[in-house]
Amino acid sequence: MSTPRDLVLAAYVSGTSTRRKIVEVTLLDPDIVDLIIDTMIHSGEMNRYVLQKDCEFGGCRGCPLSEGCAP
């Protein structure tokens, strides 16, 4: 039997791209979906990035995608 985490993971991997959609697809409580996303980020299964359209103030230093960039 699938656990709540399995359900969220399956929805995520199949391309469900918003929390609301995941709630609709899995029929789980929205708080549980949030909790599962939190734990996946905490465990490193998911990474959190900031969507941005350009280099932010501070150049590369301010960019959340710059990890490992050449100095």
Binding site: V13, G15, T18, R20, D31, L51, Q52
Partner: protein
């Protein structure tokens, strides 16, 4: 009831006084409850060896004396910050007698996850359920009896601000502490720890049995989101928004552009010309080169400012995240990984950081595919050229033409990535992306102007840096004679090094309809940076004009004449072919350098070869088909 408030002493050093810790996630009401129970306002004390603050108070309730600690919020027992580490350490101490776990009823799942971890510490525990009023307003009702049964812990609902439930909580605290004096606890006996998966299932079951949601009606924000992120309505809205942005930009900026142009050509240029009249080579460098080239680009300051303001407005309103959901669907449709959206969005600002941003993708093949596709994203440097050319040739429809170029750019990115995925770099593309949708809000003036200014500043830095350097380099190449008997800086352009290069490659563009040396030369210098295409045109026509001067507003007329001539009367088709070539060919040397750093020289050069071939083939196809239709 506070008998003493000790801010500096390690609380657990008072061995004879029972120690009670208020534990919970951040912002669940710990400090308010602390103040309510202790009767004092929350005071802070520096914890030894840290800068993190812990509040403590010795109090007597119902004849029972104990020390209560208000410790930093914690999300889980795997500490992720110094604050959380401190809380973790306090919880691990044997001296701690009782935990009061604070559970926010409006954010109950996350709080219960922590409670399930705290249970495994095998310390006496009471749950204080806070924020039940907020939860009720959101249609969330918690059955306290059921929750208590599920947790096997006493649960008390408290609203510290209104004192509701605090007396009952105090009663349970004192009862529990009194019991502790008579009970011998076996601290070695511990509950086996659950894995995250089991813990989430436990919390999910608890919520199913004890929480009821009555408000399942979608909010207005949910309904708007449904429309803006739906496959068809979302895509049509995105296209509409983009069209409005480009059309407004070109329409609103036009008078300001003309004003700046008249200042440069009518106010700044004449006195400088007068001063430099006796030194023709310096006049050529300053007036025909720097002022003509950089001045033309500066007329785009209003365009870029208005565009950046509109984009910042969209971003601050929360719309950009919805647009990202629509774009993400498009990426998946083309078989691109969801995470490809991150670097591609950056690419619409500048391709160079976008190539570095491919590091967000964990699979090397994904990084390569997206990294080689990034140069097809229409960066803001290309935007200046689009607006310049579209304004000259399409007048009131300029915005629509620019909008069309963005559609071409997105299509090219998707098709090229798909081509790579199916041919050179085969493999599955599964790197999903989950997008957080921020709440809608009215944009704030401070954010919008500050954000737009940062981007305008970037444009000005580009114009003042790489563009000036390129203008000087082009002037130098124009000054160097390679045939005839001419002196340095006094050479007809067709006998200069620059003329030889530009005219040498011009025939390549014969089937594209824009085989003119001014344009061919500008495309070559465009390898340095795309804004340079405009400054090079201005410089080329300035040098080429009989009196070696060019009023900036005349540049458009000259371009029109040359496109008309090179396309044998099909200038519209030739201009569209030119814009598509500009969108497709290598953005700049900095992007090549970034690709080389990320993927190696072989792939960087492979990318350049593809970009040039695709750009030329598309331009030829567009012109040859277009001239039959237009």
């Amino acid at each position: 009831m506070c008998s003493s408030c000790d801010q500096n002493k390690h609380p657990t050093t008072a061995l004879k006084t029972p120690l009670v810790a208020l534990v919970g996630r951040p912002n669940v009401g710990k400090s308010t409850l602390f103040s309510r129970i202790s009767g004092i306002h929350r005071k802070m004390g520096n914890w030894p060896a840290t800068t993190v603050e812990v509040g403590s108070a010795d109090i007597v309730v119902n004849g029972e004396e104990f020390r209560i600690l208000d410790i930093p919020g914690i999300s889980s027992l795997s500490p992720a910050s110094p604050d959380e580490k401190l809380t973790h350490d306090i919880l691990m101490e044997d001296d701690l007698d009782l935990i009061v776990a604070i559970v926010d009823a409006s954010n109950i799942a996350r709080c219960l996850f922590l409670v399930s971890q705290l249970k495994e510490l095998n310390k006496p525990m009471v749950v204080a359920l806070t924020m039940t009023d907020i939860a009720r307003r959101r249609g969330i009702y918690v059955d306290i009896e059921a929750l208590s049964r599920g947790l096997d812990i006493k649960v008390v609902a408290v609203l510290p601000r209104s004192k509701n439930g605090t007396a009952e909580l105090e009663k349970i605290l004192t009862q529990t502490l009194a019991q502790l004096k008579t009970d011998e606890r076996d601290l070695k006996e511990s509950t086996p720890p659950l894995g995250d998966d089991q813990r989430i299932s436990f919390v999910s079951d608890l919520i199913t049995s004890s929480v009821t949601r009555t408000s399942t009606r979608p909010t207005l924000s949910d309904r708007v989101d449904r429309f803006l992120t739906a496959p068809i309505s979302g895509a049509l809205t995105l296209l509409g928004v983009l069209w409005i942005v480009f059309q407004s930009t070109t329409t609103l900026a036009s008078p300001f552009q003309n004003w700046i142009s008249s200042i440069i050509s009518g106010v700044i240029t004449p006195p400088i010309e007068d001063v430099l009249i006796s030194t023709p080579w310096l006049k050529g460098l300053i007036v025909d080169g720097v002022i003509s080239g950089v001045g033309t680009l500066l007329t785009f300051l209003p365009v870029m400012s208005i565009m950046f303001l509109l984009l910042s407005l969209l971003e601050d309103s929360g719309y950009m995240a919805r647009a990202a959901v629509v774009s993400d669907r498009l990426m998946r449709f083309a078989g691109l990984p969801g995470k490809a959206l991150l670097p591609l969005i950056v690419g619409f600002g500048c391709n160079v950081p976008a190539v570095s941003a491919t590091r967000a993708l964990s699979d090397a093949r994904h990084r390569l595919i997206v990294g080689l596709s990034v140069p097809f994203t229409a960066c803001s440097a290309r935007l200046a050229v689009y607006i310049f050319v579209a304004g000259i040739f399409f007048g009131g429809n300029a915005g629509t033409v620019v909008f069309g170029m963005y559609i071409v750019s997105i299509t090219l990115v998707i098709l090229f990535a798909l081509f790579l995925r199916l041919t050179l770099i085969k493999g599955a593309m599964r790197e999903p992306l989950l997008i957080e949708l921020p709440p809608y809000r009215l944009p704030t003036t401070t954010f919008v102007f500050a954000d737009a200014w940062l981007r305008v500043r970037g444009f000005l830095k580009e114009v003042g840096g790489i563009v000036v350097i390129t203008v000087v380099a082009i002037w130098f190449l124009m000054a160097v004679p390679i045939s005839g008997n001419h002196q340095f800086a006094n050479t007809p352009v067709n006998e200069s090094a620059y003329g030889a290069i530009a005219k040498g490659i011009t025939p390549i563009f014969a089937p594209t309809g824009f085989a003119d040396w001014h344009t061919a030369g500008a495309l070559v210098t465009g390898f340095v940076a795309k804004e340079v295409v405009i400054s090079s045109w201005a410089q080329n026509y300035s040098v080429d004009s009989p009196n070696r001067q060019l009023i900036i507003s005349d540049l458009g007329k000259k371009l029109k004449l040359d496109f008309e001539r090179s396309s044998s009367g099909h200038s519209s088709a030739a201009v569209i072919a030119f814009l598509i070539f500009l969108t497709s060919y290598t953005p700049c040397v900095a992007t090549i350098a970034a690709q080389r750093r990320e993927f190696g020289l072989k792939w960087a050069l492979t990318g350049v070869a593809f970009q040039l071939a695709i750009a030329w083939l598309l331009a030829v196809a567009v012109f040859q088909i277009g001239r039959l239709l237009i």
